[in-house]
């Protein structure tokens, strides 16, 4: 559940989600669930010309299984905190 909690802390921040089909979408992280499904608001596609059908999509739901990367804001990563949490989880609680 570590990454679920981690993403929950990022709600409201601007992220770029790159999908396995190379589509990259930038938007405000609205919510995330246990499958790491993601909902974005105020989305825009990074390469708009290549994906004209995405022009009128403002809000979207992305299935967790098709996500390749989530690019985070630089201040969004507290590596030390993540590191500690990982060790805690590995110890079993």
């Amino acid at each position: 559940m570590l990454f679920f909690s981690y993403f929950k802390d990022l709600v409201g921040k601007e992220v770029t989600v790159e999908l396995k089909n190379d589509l990259a979408i930038r938007g405000t992280l609205h919510s995330v669930d246990q499958y790491l499904n993601i909902k974005l608001e105020n989305t825009r596609v990074v390469d708009q010309d290549k994906y004209p059908h995405m022009l009128s999509v403002r809000n979207c739901f992305i299935r967790g299984s098709v996500v390749r990367y989530v690019q985070l804001p630089p201040e969004g990563v507290d590596v030390d905190l993540l590191h500690d949490a990982t060790r805690r989880e590995a110890r079993g609680g």
């Binding site: 499958y35 499904n37 059908h53 403002r58």
Partner: protein
Amino acid sequence: MSWAGPEDIHLSTSLANYLDKKLLVLLRDGRKLMGLLRSFDQFANAVLEGACERVIVGDLYCDIQLGLYVIRGENVVLIGELDLEREELPPHMTRVSEAEIRRAQKAEREATDLKGTMRKRMEFLDLD
């Protein structure tokens, strides 16, 4: 995904607030379906009413009517809410008939195939 109550519906990833809205569903094979979301579950299995497939080839497009579609969740890439205020497509795109879009699709496929074969033949040149 739990069943979201009415108070936290807007804070969850649940598709409940997309119900009865016109959506664009992107599938893993690259197809784009549009329709009204009538039902869904935790796997993103979805029922689209009045579904149509939007086929886009270059600057041409066509909407092909399909009817009621049940989509298996694993094929879903993205479900987008269509902003009805905005243009669905850039203005330079032209709507054509189904026959025409199929022709364009076939031409595009043949062009890609040809590019593939040419590349294969030239492989010994080690272009990259």
